[in-house]
Every structure is written in structure tokens, then in C-alpha cells.
């Protein structure tokens, strides 16, 4: 069931990539050991820091999962950011309604986040299959529209009393925050949702006809008609599913991370997830793990300034180096050579 050769290759690639990052940091005159020690301490060093990492991991992993569906159907879902944002809008809508004061609020928020995100995804899909608009253009356009809607809401109908600031809405009532357990607010509900969705998606993508048909749509749209199904329908499905999952990511951002709606509610995690899914070549395990690695980088990196006095942009350099060198290594396939050498040494 589990592809060990693939794991070996990816592990070696990860090591090589880390090596290149080390080298890059040295070029900037920064000690990579200090930086990585600091990143790991900052993200996993205590229970509260670990939970902070989980809160960042939640939207990234969900967005990555969402993208696996659309990429399977051969679609570049650039609109993922907009779907996350609209999910957050849906969640905020409930949190600010009369339901917001009741403990049931987070559960209804999820429904609305799914609804808003799914519909936003559906728009892209309909533009694609009915209007023949390329999904990259419609996605990008819908991203802008979504962030426009959020800013309008924050500075208009949902503004704080007597204040017109793009700083964000009022905090949600505590009942509307994502339910947590323990002293450090472990977001059990989120983790359960993520694990459930990942398991479900693993089954759906690998063992159901929906999964196979999504993939065949992605591999060859023209051939699908010979197998008596309409690729258009599966493109729409992929977007509906992706938008819904991205909507949950937006819910996590609004009710889990900020407890309010802010203009940049998506945190750019949709675009980051595109990179993650590209790096992991749509592999569901690696997306799961890589999105966690990236959230470690983000949470640990945000403390580099406080701990080491380094500029915040260092973390951007690390991320970019990671993605670039990974993609290059993927192309030139150095790992295979290394694996062969290793196995030759051991066989002697």
C-alpha cells in the first residue's frame, strides 16, 4: 500500500533541499544552525507553540487537500484564495448573527463556510465549462472579488462601532471560537476534521469511481467521452469539493486563528498550498507532511526577529529556496543516482 521507494527518494530530496537552504543562509551570513534551532524551538518547543503550529497547519493542509482534487481533474485552481476567504465570510456571518452566542455556532459556521466556499468554487467551474473562461483567469478574478467583498464588509456593514478601520471586525463571542480542550486550547475539533477529510479523500481518490474519473479527466479530457462520462461534470465536482474544503480552511482562520474577520484572512495560504501540492506531485501523504513542515517554518520563522534579531523576510527566502530547489531536484533526479550508489555500497 505504501510506496517505500518513493519515500526514500523524497527523504533524500528533503535532505538535499535542506542542504541547499543551509548553503543559501550561509551566503547571507546567517548561521543556519541557529536559524533552524530557533525555528524548531519556536514552533514545537512548548505545548502552546505546538498548538499555534497546528492552527497554522489546519488551513494549509486543508487548502492542499482541496487542491489535490482540482489538480486531479487537471484544473489550476488559482481561485483557492477566494474560496478560503469566502469560507471565512460564511463563518463570520454566523458568528455575528444571533447564533453567534450559542455553543452550536462553530458547527453551523462550518456548514456556511462549506456553502460559501463551495459556491465560490462552483463559480470558477461554471465559468470554465459553460463560459469557456480559462480557470486561471476566472480564479484570479474571483480572488480579487472575494478580497474586495471582505474589505467592503469590514469597513462597511461589519465595522466596529464608531470605527472605520481595515484592522478587522469585532472579536467573535467566545462561543463562536473553535472549540478547544485543555489549558493551551488544543483545537481537537479541527484536527478531527482534518484527519477525517484526509482519510476520506485517500479512499475517494484511490478506490472510488469518482476518484478514477477525476483523474482521467485530468489526464485526457478528450478521452473521457469514450468511456461514456462527461468530463465537464467532473470538473464541476472537483471545484465543488475543493471550494468546500477551502471554505473550512477559511472557517479555521476566522474562528480558530483570529477570532474575527481581517482583510488578509487567507494569509496567502492558498497560494502556498499550490506550491505544496506541486512539490508533492499531488501525493496525499506528502501534502499532509509538507504542509506541516511549512507551518513549522511559518510559525518558527515569525519568531526569528524576536529570538535572533533577524529580519522577517528570511523566512520567505527559506521558503522560496525550498520550493525552487525541490522542483529543480525533481527534474534532474539526483536522488536516483544517490540511491543507486548507496545500494551498491551496501551490496558489496
Amino acid at each position: 500500500m505504501f510506496d517505500f521507494d518513493n519515500l526514500k527518494i523524497n527523504s533524500i530530496r528533503l535532505l538535499l533541499t535542506l542542504f541547499i537552504i543551509f548553503f543559501t543562509l550561509i551566503l547571507f551570513g546567517i548561521s543556519p544552525f541557529e536559524v533552524f534551532q530557533s525555528i524548531i524551538y519556536g514552533s514545537l518547543g512548548s505545548e502552546s507553540k505546538f498548538i499555534r503550529t497546528l492552527i497554522v497547519w489546519a488551513p494549509i493542509s486543508l487548502a492542499s487537500l482541496a487542491l489535490i482534487y482540482t489538480f486531479s481533474a487537471g484544473m489550476w485552481n488559482i481561485g483557492i484564495e477566494g474560496q478560503i476567504i469566502m469560507g471565512a465570510v460564511g463563518a463570520t456571518f454566523i458568528a455575528r448573527s444571533f447564533l453567534g452566542d450559542y455553543l452550536i455556532s462553530p458547527y453551523i459556521q462550518i456548514l456556511f463556510a462549506v456553502l460559501f466556499g463551495g459556491l465560490w468554487g462552483l463559480l470558477s467551474a461554471l465559468l470554465k465549462v459553460k463560459g469557456n473562461v480559462h480557470e486561471i483567469f476566472s480564479g484570479l478574478g474571483l480572488d480579487f472579488v472575494a478580497s474586495g467583498i471582505v474589505i467592503f464588509l469590514i469597513i462597511g456593514p461589519w465595522k466596529r462601532d464608531g470605527i472605520a478601520s481595515t484592522g478587522g471586525t469585532d472579536l467573535f463571542h467566545k462561543a463562536s471560537w473553535i472549540p478547544t480542550i485543555g489549558n493551551h486550547n488544543f483545537p481537537l475539533m479541527l484536527i478531527v476534521i482534518i484527519l477525517f477529510l484526509y482519510l476520506l479523500s485517500y479512499v475517494v481518490l484511490n478506490f472510488t469511481s469518482l476518484g478514477i474519473r477525476l483523474k482521467s479527466t485530468g489526464i485526457n479530457v478528450l478521452a473521457t467521452e469514450r468511456f461514456y462520462f462527461k468530463s465537464d461534470r467532473y470538473i464541476v465536482f472537483s471545484y465543488l469539493i475543493a471550494g468546500s474544503i477551502a471554505g473550512i480552511a477559511g472557517f479555521s482562520q476566522a474562528s480558530g486563528a483570529y477570532h474575527k474577520l481581517v482583510p488578509s484572512i487567507s494569509g496567502g495560504f492558498g497560494f502556498l498550498a499550490i506550491l505544496i501540492v506541486l512539490i508533492s506531485s499531488r501525493n496525499i501523504y506528502f501534502s499532509f507532511i509538507l504542509s506541516f513542515l511549512f507551518s513549522i517554518l511559518i510559525v518558527g520563522g515569525s519568531q526569528l526577529q524576536i529570538r535572533l534579531g533577524l529580519d522577517n523576510t528570511i523566512i520567505g527566502i527559506i521558503q522560496a529556496t525550498f520550493v525552487l530547489s525541490w522542483l529543480v531536484l525533481q527534474r534532474i533526479k539526483v536522488e536516483n543516482m544517490i540511491l543507486q550508489k548507496i545500494s551498491r555500497v551496501f551490496s558489496k
Binding site: G167, G168, Y258, S264, I306, R307
Partner: protein
């Protein structure tokens, strides 16, 4: 593959050299840090909403922190650009907790935008003194008073005076009496300071016709692309619509940059800066001056209280030292007169400042009406502190949004 091996070797050597070098550095710097009082050096955190070198609000706070370092010793831990757009998923209470992890014994959080995070952080760490600049959590008769947070104090300057002078300078220089006020977001503080700029301007306006005072808000303390309006564009629109002086009230110096550009194209336009002592340096030839915050002395007082274990939650709203507004050691609010003011204008402005200082001019005195025509202050009545701090509307005569 040969090349690859060499690369590996080179980077191992490089890593070794650099990590050795760095340990030396940290050792020597921690030696310098040792202080005469107590065994642990005093460390404090400084949370800034914008970049620490923004030539505006954030830099003024940063230099306030450096003032503590100079006078008291100790070490400042800085986190700048702490806002949702620049640091996604990093909240102020998380920064506070990280700084305390790093040994900070007190925290300065320096934006009204940080309210939610500051309150959460103060609840979470009741033993760590926190200063929230420009907030009202310690104002015992205020709307946002939190009696439960005895570790949270507020410091703010009476920028009212600085902005009155700014308004006066703008009106003295304007030839057509059309002034643009480049505003950030809308809240009590910004309405208050826009109003006083207008009061100062209408007091000093001596030209023909009525004074035109336009207020445009960009939506946040500084430009966030895609989120706020672009202050560069707003400044240009002011000039296009006929204004000849801009009063900047945002954290960053776009207003000065645009005015400088317009002037170099031959236009007769001027600007008043804000927040930071040296902001005129961006466009010295067109700068009428700058009302600025000098956070150092009050921040030092608060830090001394912490070091001596005497910190208590106080609401400090400090005015200028009228004997010498620009004294770095005593005046919370300063005003630097810019090079663009002529000698006669400077004389007029200085006499205005003198009259403000002596109390001869009291601008918060009725009759004053709000924009919608309702009475703010009836005839002869002077505003109370709360009426000034919590300003609900712009004043009659100003053009722009109140909410």
C-alpha cells in the same frame, strides 16, 4: 558529481566557520549587556505595527525604546510589522508570549490596532507590565476601562496641541485656503486630531473666503496594497482638486513625497508631516513642519517603575513641555518648524504657539457644532477630557466621513 562533493565540503566548512564566529559574537554582546542593578539584565519588548524605519509612527516608538537603552541600559527586543497583512497568523498576544519567553520583563505595544491582542496578552500574563500606547484600557472614567488588568497601562501624548500648530501652519501658508487632511482610519483618536487641525487652521486663516478643509481616510495607519486606498493617489487627488497644502496624519511619509514631486514640477504646494521628528527630511523644501511624538521620557519612566518594582496601571496623557517643546528629555509632544515657512509666517506661528502655551487661546471652547449640526460645545463651554478623547464626529465646516 565531483562538483557536488566539493560543494558539500565547502558548505560544511562554511557552516563550521560561521557557527564558530557567531558564538563568539553572542558571548561578547551578552557581556556588554550585564547591568549594575540585579543579576539579570533588563529586557523589554517593543511591538510595532509598521516597519521600525518607517520615518513615522513606528520609528518614533522604536527610538523611544532606544532612549530607554541609552539612559537605563538593558536590551530591547523588537518585533516590527505586526499587523495581519504583513505577519499573517501572528497575533499580538503571541508576540507578547514569545517576548516573555525571550526574557522580556515588560512589553510596549504601540498601536490602537493591537487592542484585541494586547487585552488577551495582559489577561494571559498578569505579572508582566504592559504599556499599550494610545489605548484607553487604564482610563478609569473611559469607555474601554479594564479595572481587572492592573498590569496594563496606557501612554499617549496630547497631540492635540501639535495638530493645532500643524493646522495653523497650513492655514498661514495656504494661498487659497484649501487644505487636504490625509487621514488613516476613522476612530476617536483620528477624529479628535483631524478636528484640532481644523480648529488650528480656522483660527489662523486670514485670507479671503471660507476655509476649505477636506478629510480623506485611507482605511489603515499606512498603505497596505489591495486593502487600503493608496495615500500617494489620495495626496495627488488633493492637489488635483485644488488644495495647496496637505496635512499628513498617516504613519508613513507618502504625503511628503508627493508634495515634493509636485513642487519639483513647479507647483506651489506644501505639506505638514506627522509622528516622527525628522519627517521633514523627506521633502525639506516644501515641509511646513512636523508635530511629533517623543516617547522616550515617558517610556523611560514606565521602565524605571518596572525596574524598581513600582509599576502600576496608569493612564498617561502627557502634553508638551511648553518651555521647550523640542526638549528630548522632557517634552512628549514636539513641533519642528520646517524650512518652507517664511520668516513672517514663522513669527506668526510662534506667537500662536506662545498663546497656546499661556492658555490665552483655548480652541476647545464653544460654540462648536458637529458635522451634522448638533451641538458639541455650547457657547463658552470648555471641553472635558472625555469630550476630547472620545470624539464622535468631525466638526461643522469640515468635509469628509465621520464614520
Amino acid at each position: 558529481m565531483k562538483l557536488f562533493h566539493k560543494l558539500i565540503l565547502a558548505s560544511i566548512i562554511g557552516i563550521f566557520i560561521i557557527s564558530c564566529g557567531n558564538t563568539d559574537d553572542t558571548e561578547s554582546s551578552s557581556m556588554d549587556m550585564s547591568m549594575d542593578h540585579g543579576s539579570t539584565p533588563f529586557k523589554f519588548g517593543m511591538i510595532l505595527v509598521g516597519p521600525k524605519d518607517d520615518k513615522g509612527w513606528s520609528q518614533a516608538h522604536y527610538e523611544g525604546g532606544q532612549y530607554i537603552e541609552d539612559k537605563l541600559g538593558g536590551e530591547m527586543i523588537v518585533a516590527d510589522m505586526i499587523n495581519p497583512a504583513d505577519s499573517p497568523n501572528l497575533t499580538v498576544d503571541q508576540v507578547i508570549s514569545d517576548m516573555i519567553d525571550e526574557g522580556a520583563q515588560m512589553i510596549f505595544a504601540t498601536s490602537d490596532d493591537m487592542k484585541d491582542g494586547v487585552l488577551a496578552g495582559a489577561e494571559q500574563f498578569p505579572d508582566v507590565p504592559i504599556i499599550w500606547a494610545s489605548g484607553d484600557s487604564a482610563k478609569s472614567d473611559g469607555k474601554g476601562y479594564r479595572s481587572d488588568l492592573s498590569n496594563l497601562g496606557n501612554i499617549m501624548g496630547k497631540m492635540e496641541y501639535g495638530k493645532m500648530i500643524a493646522g495653523c501652519a497650513a492655514a498661514l501658508k495656504s494661498s487659497n485656503g484649501h487644505i487636504g487632511f490625509l487621514g488613516p482610519l476613522i476612530n476617536d483618536e483620528t477624529r479628535r486630531l483631524a478636528n484640532v487641525a481644523y480648529l488650528g487652521a480656522s483660527h489662523c486663516w486670514q485670507g479671503d473666503g471660507e476655509l476649505k478643509f477636506d478629510v480623506v481616510w485611507i482605511g489603515f495607519w499606512f498603505h497596505i496594497p489591495g486593502v487600503t486606498s493608496d495615500p500617494t493617489q489620495v495626496a495627488n487627488e488633493f492637489f488635483d482638486s485644488g488644495a495647496d497644502v496637505i496635512i499628513s496624519h498617516i504613519d508613513t511619509p507618502e504625503g511628503l513625497v508627493v508634495t515634493g514631486q509636485r513642487a519639483s514640477e513647479g507647483q506651489d504646494v506644501y505639506v505638514v508631516g506627522y509622528d516622527y521628528e525628522d519627517s521633514c527630511a523627506t521633502a525639506p523644501d516644501v515641509c511646513l513642519g512636523v508635530p511629533y511624538f517623543n516617547w522616550g521620557p515617558e517610556y523611560l519612566n514606565a521602565a524605571m517603575d518596572v525596574v524598581h518594582n513600582e509599576f502600576s496601571s496608569k493612564f498617561i496623557w502627557q502634553g508638551p513641555n511648553w518651555d521647550n517643546m523640542n526638549d528630548v528629555d522632557s517634552s512628549m509632544i514636539g513641533y519642528k518648524i520646517g524650512e518652507a515657512m517664511s520668516t513672517s509666517e514663522t513669527t506668526k506661528l510662534e506667537s500662536f504657539m506662545d498663546e497656546l502655551a499661556s492658555g490665552k487661546i483655548e480652541l476647545f471652547k464653544g460654540p462648536l457644532n458637529f458635522q451634522d449640526g448638533t451641538t458639541y460645545l455650547s457657547d463658552g463651554k470648555e471641553a472635558t477630557d472625555n469630550e476630547i478623547w472620545y470624539t464622535p464626529q468631525l466638526l461643522e465646516g469640515m468635509v469628509g466621513d465621520s464614520q
